[in-house]
Symmetry: C2
Subunit: 109 residues, 2 copies
DNA sequence: TTCCTATATTCAAAAGTTTAAAAACTAAGG
DNA sequence: CCTTAGTTTTTAAACTTTTGAATATAGGAA
């Protein structure tokens, strides 16, 4: 049971562990969007976006409501926005070093 | 470059996406520990713990300082504790449903 | 010094999971 | 019945996990 809880937490973070899925959550933090809008904002093909939305749906992180032929997606919990905000503060603390290091390495080779 | 930033964020969440790694971060949130202490708290074998610490070290989430024959690990950024606290609030909102559902399914089969 | 023990890390193989891309499918409207 | 919007399925390649054995290194004892 305790093991189940840890696995549940790991699965939650696994759902965030993908560039397009993070992007989707950042976009949905600003407001609900249908799949078409997500596609244009992310500049990605439909099936790729749907596939990642399915992962987020299966983990109960987002949900979609049908509206005619389109499906409007929303965050299931507004705390996701807070989580991304804390994560952003962590990234900002470390990204500068990590990326400038990366560029030094790149320019040297 | 933008793509690099999203990949960097995804890699960060990927580092959290493992039951033992989350547990390690929760334990280190309460205070620094050497590998032996982590092993007994987690009830796991040395090589498994070391391997997961290596993942967290490589993503700059923890760091280890040698002290004689042991190595004392610490969180690199105290915001990790805040992140886990927000995540915990999200889990608490959804775990109850998810796990009681799981138990219903289990008892029925 | 030389060896022994405790602590921690790395390596390697097998098993399992995730990803990306394309094709096939469904469902609502016109 | 055709089009548009979205989803599902399929597959190979890439990646991660788990386990045990091998390696490294600091400190103490003989």
């Amino acid at each position: 049971m305790n093991h189940n809880i840890q696995q549940f937490k790991a699965d939650f973070f696994k759902a965030l562990a993908h560039p397009m899925r993070i992007r989707i959550l950042e976009v949905l933090s600003e407001g609900n969007k249908n799949v078409n809008e997500l596609q244009s904002i992310l500049g990605s093909e439909g099936s790729a976006v749907s596939q990642q939305l399915a992962v987020l749906r299966n983990k109960n992180i987002v949900f979609g409501l049908k509206d005619g032929t389109s499906v409007i997606y929303s965050l299931r919990d507004p705390l996701i926005t807070d989580l991304l905000a804390v994560a952003k503060r962590i990234f900002d603390n470390h990204l500068v070093d990590a990326i400038s290091l990366l560029e030094v390495i790149r320019n040297e080779s």
